[in-house]
C-alpha cells in the first residue's frame, strides 16, 4: 500500500488513501495548502507550477462540488484540465475500466483524478497506468476520500491550531462512508486525543474499534466535551434497505440540534462534507450558525487539491 503511493525517495506519487502515510507527509500537504490559500486575494491568482501538464478528471460517479474544486485547483496551477463524466458513457457500453484508462493514456495525460463507485478502483488504476502518470483518488466506493479528509484537517488546523488536545466526534453513516474512513485515518496520524463515532449499530462497521475510534450509539454521550463535530451526509437509500426506519426518527435520535450542541465544548466547530440534508442530520440554524465552518471547508477544498496535485507531480522531479 505504502509503496504504491510513494516513490523511491518516499515522496507522494499517487494520492489514493491516508492509510500508510505518515505525519510528515500530511503536515507537508497542509503547509503547502496554506501557502496556496492566500492566493485568491492576490491580483494574479494563477501559479505556473503545472503549465503544460494535462489533468483528466475521470468521474465514474457524479459530483459537482468535488469535480469543480478539482477543476479550479488545476486551473490555478496552470494545467490543462479535462473533465469526463463516464457514469453514463463508456462503461455502460461494456468498455472495461482498464480500456478506458488505456485510451486516455494514449492521449498523453499526466494525471488522473478519479471518482468511482467501487472500493479499490483508484488503487487498481494506479497499479495499471503508465509510470509517469499520477493518480488522485477523488472518492472510491466506501473506501477512501483522502482529499476531503485533508481539507477537513486543514480546516481543523485553521480553527484549532493543534491536533493533540482535540476530542473529535464523527456523527452519521460510518459504515458506508469513505469520508469517515479517511477522516479517521488522518485524525489518528495527526494524533488527536480521542476520536468518537456516533451512529446506530446498523451504520457502524463490525470491529469499528479496530479503526482506532470509540463507538457510541447515543449522540449526547458522543458529543460530551467535543471540540470538533464532523457530520456525515445521510443517503436516502439507507431508509429503503432496512438500515433506518425513516428520516424523522433518525433526526430525533442522531440529528445535531441546538439543545444537543450544549454538551459539546463552547467553542466546538461544526463540519459537514456536503451536501447537507437540513432537518435530517443537522438543524438548519446550526448549519448556518456561528460555530459552523461548512463553507470554509469548501473554500479550503481548492487549496488542498492544489497542494496535493502539485506535490504528486513534483515528486517525479519533472516540474520546475
Amino acid at each position: 500500500m505504502k509503496d504504491l503511493q510513494l516513490n523511491k525517495e518516499g515522496r507522494l506519487k499517487h494520492f489514493l488513501t491516508i492509510d500508510g502515510l505518515n505525519k510528515d507527509i500530511l503536515t507537508e500537504i497542509l503547509d503547502v495548502a496554506e501557502s496556496f490559500s492566500t492566493m485568491p486575494a492576490q491580483k494574479v491568482n494563477k501559479v505556473p507550477l503545472l503549465r503544460g501538464k494535462t489533468i483528466v478528471n475521470l468521474f465514474f460517479e457524479n459530483s459537482t462540488r468535488t469535480r469543480t474544486t478539482f477543476e479550479l485547483a488545476a486551473t490555478r496551477l496552470s494545467a490543462d484540465v479535462l473533465s469526463i463524466n463516464i457514469a453514463a458513457s463508456a462503461t455502460s457500453k461494456g468498455e472495461s475500466l482498464l480500456d478506458t484508462i488505456r485510451n486516455l493514456e494514449a492521449m498523453h495525460v499526466d494525471m488522473f483524478v478519479v471518482r468511482h463507485a467501487i472500493s479499490g478502483a483508484g488503487h487498481f488504476i494506479a497499479q495499471n497506468t503508465a509510470p509517469h502518470i499520477s493518480v488522485i483518488n477523488a472518492g472510491d466506493g466506501q473506501h477512501a476520500h483522502p482529499t476531503q479528509a485533508m481539507l477537513d484537517m486543514f480546516t481543523i488546523r485553521q480553527y484549532k491550531k493543534k491536533f493533540d488536545h482535540l476530542n473529535v466526534v464523527i456523527i452519521g453513516d460510518i459504515l458506508h462512508s469513505r469520508v469517515a474512513r479517511s477522516q479517521i485515518q488522518a485524525l489518528n496520524v495527526l494524533g488527536v486525543k480521542e476520536i468518537r463515532v456516533v451512529a446506530p449499530k446498523t451504520l457502524l462497521p463490525q470491529n469499528v474499534e479496530s479503526l482506532g475510534v470509540k463507538p457510541f450509539n447515543n449522540i449526547e454521550q458522543g458529543l460530551e466535551g467535543s471540540d470538533v463535530i464532523m457530520m456525515l451526509r445521510l443517503q436516502k437509500e439507507r431508509m429503503t434497505s432496512a438500515l433506518l426506519p425513516n428520516e424523522r426518527e433518525y433526526f430525533k435520535c442522531f440529528g445535531l440540534t441546538e439543545e444537543r450542541l450544549k454538551s459539546a465544548s463552547h467553542d466546538a466547530i461544526i463540519m459537514h462534507p456536503g451536501p447537507i440534508n437540513r432537518g435530517v442530520e443537522i438543524e438548519s440554524s446550526i448549519a448556518d450558525g456561528s460555530q459552523s465552518v461548512i463553507l470554509q471547508q469548501v473554500t479550503n477544498g481548492v487549496a488542498i487539491r492544489m497542494a496535493i496535485m502539485s506535490l504528486t507531480m513534483q515528486s517525479k522531479g519533472d516540474v520546475s
Binding site: 475500466l97 472500493s119 472510491d140 466506493g141 466506501q142 473506501h143
Partner: protein
C-alpha cells in the same frame, strides 16, 4: 497393461494402517500387493521411491476444471494434467459448468473428455436443482445413472428452504449424497470479503461468518428431517464447525471439508485490493483458521479439498469487488497440507487421510487406499523437496494464487492413476 514395481518407498496407507518401508506391485490397473512380490511378476516399469513417501492418490472433493463452457480459463485436459502433477488421481467437478451438469448429455460429455484426457478420474457432481436456479428439482435419478457421484447446488442459492428440503428428500430417495455449500445469500448480501477488520478498514462489502453458520444450522435441521446424507463443502468459520461437531455428536450422518487456503490464510494476509485474495467463502480470522485446523485434527472436518478455481488474467484484472472470486489451488494442495504437519497441527498419516481415505468414505467409493484389488491410484512424493511457484513449474491454466512467486516444500515425483504413470517430475 503395464506392470509397475514401486521400490524402496516409505508407504503410508492410513486405511490399512500401513506406515513402513516397502514395495507396491501394480498390474492390470489394480493394486496387486504390497511388499510381497507376486509369483511370476515382471515389472515393465520400476519406480524408485527412495526417500519418498508412497501413498494412495489424492481425492479432491471440489475442483473446477472450467470445462465445458469456459475453456479460456482451463480445460479438462489442462487441469487434469495439473491435478496429476499434484498427486490428485480423482476429483469431483461441481455442477456450475456451462451448460450446467443437470442432464445426462453433459455428464456424458464430461466423462468422454476426461477419459480421453486420461489423467484423472473425474466425478461429475450433478445439479440439485434445474439449471441451479434453486426452484425446480433436477432429474437426479438420470444424473445418477449417467455417473454423477453426488448432487449439489454449487454456490447458487435456493429460492426457499422448502425447495432445499424437497431436494434433500428426493436425493435421499435415490441414495444420493447432497453436497451443500452453506451460505445464506441474504446475509452475505453480495459481499466480497469477511466482515471484520479488513472490510472495515478498506470499505469493502462484508460477508459475516453468521451467513455461513446460519445456513449450516438450517441445513442440519433439514438433514434430520429428511434423513438425507449431507456433506458441507468448504467450511470457513468457527461457528459452522461447532454446529457440525454438535450434529455429529448427536448422531447425524453429516460430514464436512475445508479448502486448503482456509487452513493457511486469513483476512490479515490480504494485500490491500490484491484480487488474488478474492475468494468465496472469504478468508476469515485467525481464530477461525485455528478452529478449522483443530476441527481437522479432531476429525469433525474429514477432508481437505483444493477448491480449485482457475481464472484467466482478465477475471482478476479490476477493482477487488469486481473481480471474479477463486484461487487456482490444485498444485499447492500437497505442500500446504505438509505445512500443517510441520506446524504440528496434524500427523502426516492424518494429513494423508484427509486427502485419501476420508474423501473416499464421504463419496462412498473404493479408492483412497492401497488395498489389493483397488484401482492403482498412487502418489509418490518427496516431502522435503523445495520448489518455486512460477511459470516453469506451474501446470494449471490459472495462475491466480496468493502463493505465486513463493517457495513451497513437498513435491510430487510420480503419479500413477488406474495403473498408468500419468506424471513424473
Amino acid at each position: 497393461m503395464t506392470k509397475i514395481h514401486i521400490t524402496n518407498g516409505h508407504i503410508i496407507d492410513p486405511a490399512n494402517n500401513i506406515d513402513q518401508l516397502g514395495a507396491v506391485y501394480v498390474a492390470e490397473g489394480k493394486i496387486l500387493s504390497l511388499n510381497e512380490q507376486p509369483s511370476g511378476f515382471t515389472a515393465d516399469i520400476v519406480l524408485d521411491a527412495t526417500n519418498n513417501i508412497v501413498c494412495p492418490g489424492f481425492i479432491d472433493l471440489s475442483a473446477r476444471l472450467r470445462d465445458p463452457g469456459q475453456s479460456y480459463k482451463g480445460t479438462i485436459q489442462s487441469e487434469t494434467i495439473a491435478a496429476a502433477s499434484a498427486g490428485i488421481t480423482s476429483l469431483c467437478l461441481p455442477p456450475d459448468t456451462s451448460p450446467v451438469i443437470d442432464s445426462q448429455a453433459v455428464v456424458e460429455l464430461i466423462n468422454d473428455k476426461s477419459q480421453r484426457a486420461g489423467y484423472s478420474q473425474v466425478y461429475p457432481i450433478g445439479a440439485l436443482t434445474h439449471q441451479l436456479a434453486g426452484i425446480e428439482l433436477s432429474s437426479m435419478a438420470a444424473l445418477k445413472e449417467a455417473g454423477c457421484i453426488a448432487v449439489s447446488n454449487a454456490m447458487a442459492p435456493f429460492s426457499s428452504l422448502l425447495v432445499l428440503r424437497r431436494a434433500m428428500e428426493y436425493a435421499s430417495s435415490h441414495n444420493l449424497l447432497v453436497m451443500y455449500h452453506p451460505d445464506e445469500a441474504s446475509l452475505s448480501n453480495n459481499g466480497c470479503a469477511h466482515e471484520g477488520i479488513f472490510s472495515a478498514r478498506y470499505g469493502l462489502p462484508g460477508i459475516p461468518s453468521a451467513s455461513e453458520a446460519v445456513a449450516v444450522a438450517q441445513c442440519i435441521e433439514l438433514a434430520e428431517l429428511t434423513g438425507c446424507r449431507l456433506h458441507f463443502s468448504q467450511i470457513s468459520c468457527k461457528g459452522a464447525a461447532i454446529k457440525i461437531q454438535q450434529a455429529q455428536k448427536y448422531g447425524l450422518a453429516v460430514s464436512a471439508d475445508v479448502s486448503i487456503h482456509q487452513l493457511h490464510l486469513t483476512e490479515n494476509d490480504i494485500e490491500p485490493f490484491n484480487s488474488v485474495y478474492h475468494v468465496l467463502p472469504p478468508l476469515r480470522t485467525v481464530k477461525d483458521k485455528q478452529h478449522l485446523r483443530d476441527s481437522l485434527a479432531k476429525g469433525t472436518i474429514g477432508a481437505i479439498c483444493s477448491d480449485h478455481q482457475p481464472h484467466d488474467v482478465d477475471a482478476k484484472l479490476g477493482a477487488f469487488p469486481e473481480t471474479e472470486p477463486g484461487i487456482s489451488s490444485l498444485e499447492t494442495l500437497l505442500p500446504l497440507m505438509l505445512r500443517l504437519v510441520k506446524d504440528n497441527e496434524i500427523t502426516l498419516s492424518q494429513g494423508i487421510s484427509t486427502l485419501t481415505q476420508n474423501p473416499a468414505k464421504i463419496l462412498g467409493i473404493q479408492r483412497g487406499a492401497l488395498t489389493s484389488g483397488f484401482s492403482a491410484d498412487i502418489c509418490i512424493f518427496d516431502p522435503t523437496l523445495k520448489w518455486d511457484v512460477n511459470d516453469d513449474n506451474w501446470k494449471s491454466s490459472g495462475q491466480n494464487t496468493p502463493f505465486w512467486g513463493k517457495t513451497l516444500e513437498g513435491r510430487v515425483m510420480h503419479t500413477v492413476q488406474a495403473g498408468k504413470v500419468v506424471y513424473s517430475l
